[in-house]
């Protein structure tokens, strides 16, 4: 009898099936179907692919992750993951599913904005969702993006009307609870003309079970709008986190993203920014402070599609123990994007012989009247600076911490909300308590 042999990818995909999306509008089902079709054709990412050269996700395909809804959510467990002292609209998702009990939704027509879950928006605000959902994520070649598009359970939906500035930030908390959970949260943020909004997205786990977080943030930045996105990734050391962020900017807009990968077993972030209107500015910041065996891979792609735009990229990493950091940044300047200013900088400090750092800062330029630069350094603490502090009676470990704070502070200073900054500082400090 002939037996059908299934490979790891097929088995993995079968495990993700079983969710019922038939209640959704046709247009959204189409997105899922297209993604499924792509998944069938794509290989599971392996080191053979240039984009996955330094990051091995083979274990993900071999583990029996599946979508599961959380049972027995305990109030205290949820509140433990709120950012202290942060005054914000909160949306909570557990295992990718919406938890209305802990969330503040705003859906009234008279208010200048909508904050709700995506599934609700797909029904009630279909006219707002339809033109944007899935448009930036149609990339055929990204396995994990298609995976989320196909199986995403729910996520946050934020819509800001023209000329509206939100009075306080929005905090989207994504939690994972249970064993071998595959969670696919997907947020859609739409900022209309000249509006302003700040969104903090945090990813955390309730227990220490192994999990897969495959997340997407889709951001539409309207003309003259200003959107800030802070991403805090603080999951348990058995969790794989693969995320992608997409932003499309209209003219005169500003988009800023702060990425803080703090804890997990493996974190991969793909940032895709399209500067699709003149005079727009994109800022990408990342602070990577790692110890233990954590592997972090930040990939950025900034597409200068229109003239007179600016992009600033600053990624800094401090690596201890056996941590690995990967930075792969690409600036693409289109033929017509004259007068582009694009800057990219990646600095690494390696504290241990077992830690390693891989960088691939790339420029691809087809216009001539541009100023583009990238820099990459890998090194250690400045001996003279250390000596200066030591000569003033500081212990070596304290002196190192002072230098670390200064080094990573340059990136963290871009987090302007005080409680968020404090929360992040604490996460990073915990990672370097062991510093001797």
């Amino acid at each position: 009898m002939a037996t059908l042999t299934l490979n790891d990818k097929d088995r993995f995909l079968i495990n993700q099936e079983g969710q019922d999306f038939s209640h959704e509008a046709k247009t959204f089902i189409k997105i899922r179907e297209l993604a499924l079709k792509n998944l069938k054709e794509l290989d599971f990412p392996s080191k053979k692919l240039e984009d996955w050269k330094y990051t091995n996700v083979r274990e993900v395909s071999k583990t029996e992750f599946r979508p599961q809804s959380a049972i027995n959510i305990i109030d205290e467990k949820i509140s433990a993951h709120k950012i202290p002292n942060l005054n914000a609209y909160v949306l909570v998702f557990v295992n990718g599913f919406f938890a209305p009990k802990y969330s503040n939704t705003i859906e009234q027509k008279e208010s200048g904005f909508i904050i709700t879950n995506l599934n609700k928006a797909k029904k009630d605000f279909i006219k707002l969702v339809e033109p944007h959902l899935g448009f930036q994520t149609r990339a055929k070649d990204q396995f994990f993006v298609n995976l989320n598009s196909a199986f995403s359970q729910d996520g946050g939906f934020i819509y800001v009307k023209p000329n509206v500035q939100l009075d306080k930030p929005i905090h989207i908390i994504n939690l994972v609870d249970g064993d071998l959970v595959a969670s696919y949260p997907r947020n859609l943020i739409i900022a209309e003309k000249c509006s302003e909004v700040q969104v903090i997205v945090s990813y955390e786990t309730i227990d220490s079970n192994s999990a897969l977080s495959n997340v997407i943030n889709e951001v539409v930045v309207g003309e003259g709008a200003n959107v800030k996105l802070d991403k805090i990734q603080n999951e348990n050391l058995n969790t794989f986190h693969v995320g992608a962020d997409f932003a499309k900017q209209q003219k005169n807009s500003v988009f800023t993203i702060n990425t803080i990968p703090a804890n997990a077993k493996l974190i991969r972030n793909n940032l895709n920014i399209i500067l699709d209107g003149t005079n727009s500015v994109a800022n990408l910041y990342g602070a990577v402070c790692l110890n233990g065996n954590i592997h972090v891979d930040n990939q950025t792609y900034v597409d200068h599609a229109k003239p007179n735009c600016e992009s600033n990229e600053l990624y800094k990493a401090v690596l201890n123990d056996s941590a690995t950091n990967v930075f792969n940044g690409k600036i693409y300047v289109n033929k017509i994007a004259q007068k582009t200013n694009a800057f990219q900088s990646n600095a690494n400090i390696i504290l241990s012989d077992n830690a390693s750092s891989n960088a691939k800062p790339q420029l691809e330029i087809y216009a001539d009247d541009v100023k583009c630069s990238h820099g990459c350094t890998i090194g250690q603490f400045d001996d003279e600076a250390l000596f200066y502090l030591r000569s003033r009676g500081m212990r070596e470990s304290t002196a190192q911490k002072v230098l670390l704070d200064a080094f990573i502070g340059e990136v963290l200073d871009n987090i302007k909300t005080e409680p968020v900054r404090e929360y992040v500082d604490e996460l990073i400090a915990e990672n370097f308590n062991s510093l001797n």
Binding site: A359, P361, E364, I365, V370, S373, G379
Partner: protein
């Protein structure tokens, strides 16, 4: 400067025709088209090679058959048909030449038209020229002077006969047959090349130089160069090439291997000016070269300097494996692309030994509709304590239809290494041009001035007499806007 002026200059800059395009009529002996085991046996037999080398070639051929052409480079071109290439062409042997008078006057004329007459060079700079016309060396000069010092500088096939132990020991030791698609191909069918051996403690008193030319239409050129520098020795090696105009794409897949022992230094300079194809991108040479140096022992140094102005498609990454402690690797490069040329070039610095150092300075200039990419790897292994690297890649764009790209890979696996990489891309500044114009320097002269300044710290690393030629090539490549 008005827009139309600028357009005009770009137009002029991109219309420079290849000056060294001519064919000299020399009777040559050709192998059958195509590549089979038979072809390899034919080449080996023609060259009276020993059995072990034939075996070595056949093994490479076996490996090659199982390999695929690499396609990761940022270039696109119609893939060469490997069965449509003549793998062996040699000027008919006239036995050995005692003096230059015996050399075919046609060959000598060719070199005179190139502006590098052997006679003059002999006297002029004290350069020993090992002339490689198509695939076989036909004239070797200054040999006696070198042999007094124990330096071996001869064609590869001669070395196979006279110094089989040395060849056996070092061939494929830096670039193994299976290294990549084109190195495997070269290992299978290489026709000739140069061999250079500097014995212990000898400082080579003159620059060693080889001129390569592709002469026979439809001939793939598969050179193989091997340089071995023993303990405490020094050599400066020059390689330069100009090729006649051709409409069909020609393949050039050379292999260069350098081995540097304790305290030795090898300086390898290249001026490359293969036929780049016409303005519409027809014809031109495919240049797929594997160049690699091994700093095998401590305190050794290998330095690559290259000026690349030719070829339709270039795919070249001169590399250093810094195995010995305190060894040093250097890479200085100017790559100019014009019209439809495509270049994907750079270097690899693999730090294995302690306190190893590497410097990379790469200058890319793109004009016309060309694409110019830098691709480099700096790898610091765990054991390379105190390793140090500095890389700088600058690109200059002339005209708005070209592209300049940078793809550096930086891998670091220990805590005492310092790695720096910086890259910039810009065009010639309007303020710079204005400054020159204001002082009465015409725009095209000013561009020449700026381009020369842009490349200066690479050009400074070329040997004197080479630097002059390199500057000439640069001017031809960007003619109209330069000089």
């Amino acid at each position: 400067m008005s827009m139309s002026d600028e357009d005009k200059i770009i137009e002029e800059a991109t219309s420079g025709e290849y000056k060294y395009g001519f064919v000299s009529n020399i009777d040559s002996e050709l192998a059958q088209k195509g590549l089979t085991e038979e072809t390899i046996r034919f080449i080996s037999n023609k060259k009276n090679e020993p059995e072990w080398l034939l075996e070595w070639r056949l093994k490479a051929f076996e490996l090659w058959k199982g390999m695929e052409e690499p396609n990761w480079a940022h270039v696109s071109y119609p893939k060469p048909n490997f069965q449509d290439i003549i793998y062996y062409a040699a000027p008919k042997p006239k036995k050995k030449y005692e003096s230059l008078d015996e050399v075919d006057p046609e060959i000598l004329k060719t070199f005179e038209r190139l502006g590098v007459p052997i006679n003059e060079q002999k006297a002029l700079a004290g350069v020993a020229v090992d002339v490689v016309m198509d695939s076989v060396s036909v004239a070797t000069t200054f040999k006696e002077k070198l042999s007094e010092l124990g330096i071996i500088f001869c064609s590869f096939s001669e070395a196979v006969k006279e110094y089989p132990e040395l060849i056996k020991k070092y061939i494929g030791s830096v670039v193994p047959q299976a290294d990549n698609f084109y190195s495997a191909l070269n290992s299978a069918v290489f026709s000739d090349g140069s061999f250079c051996y500097i014995p212990k403690g000898v400082r080579c008193p003159m620059e060693l130089s080889t001129y390569f030319r592709i002469n026979e239409a439809n001939t793939g050129q598969f050179e193989r160069t091997l340089i071995v520098a023993e303990e405490g020795s020094y050599v400066s090696y020059l390689e330069g090439c100009t090729a006649p105009q051709r409409d069909e794409n020609q393949l050039h897949a050379a292999v260069v291997e350098i081995v540097a022992m304790k305290d030795s230094e090898v300086k390898y300079s290249t001026v490359q000016n293969w036929y780049p194809g016409d303005k519409k991108g027809r014809g031109g040479i495919y240049n797929f070269v594997t160049k690699r140096g091994l700093c095998a022992e401590e305190n050794s140094k290998i330095s690559w300097t290259q000026v690349e102005t030719g070829s339709a498609v270039t795919w070249k990454y001169p590399s250093c494996i810094l195995k010995g402690d305190n060894s040093v690797g250097e890479f200085f490069s100017v790559a100019v692309t014009n019209n439809m040329q495509q270049a994907d070039t750079g270097t690899k610095m693999i730090h294995l030994g302690k306190n190893t150092k590497s410097t990379i300075v790469s200058k890319g200039i793109s004009a016309g509709k060309s694409q110019n990419s830098y691709r480099g790897l700096v790898k610091v292994a765990k054991g390379a304590k105190g390793a140090r690297n500095f890389s700088q890649c600058d690109s200059l764009l002339i005209g708005d239809r070209c592209g300049a790209h940078t793809f550096p890979y930086i891998e670091c696996q220990n805590k005492s290494a310092k790695v720096e990489h910086e890259a910039t891309t810009s065009k010639i500044g309007e303020d710079q041009l204005f400054y020159c114009n204001q002082r009465g320097i015409k725009t095209d002269k000013a561009i020449g001035l700026i381009v020369n300044g842009f490349c200066k710290n690479v050009m400074d690393n070329l040997p004197m007499e080479f630097a002059i030629e390199a500057k000439k090539l640069l001017e031809i490549s960007l003619e109209g806007s330069v000089g």
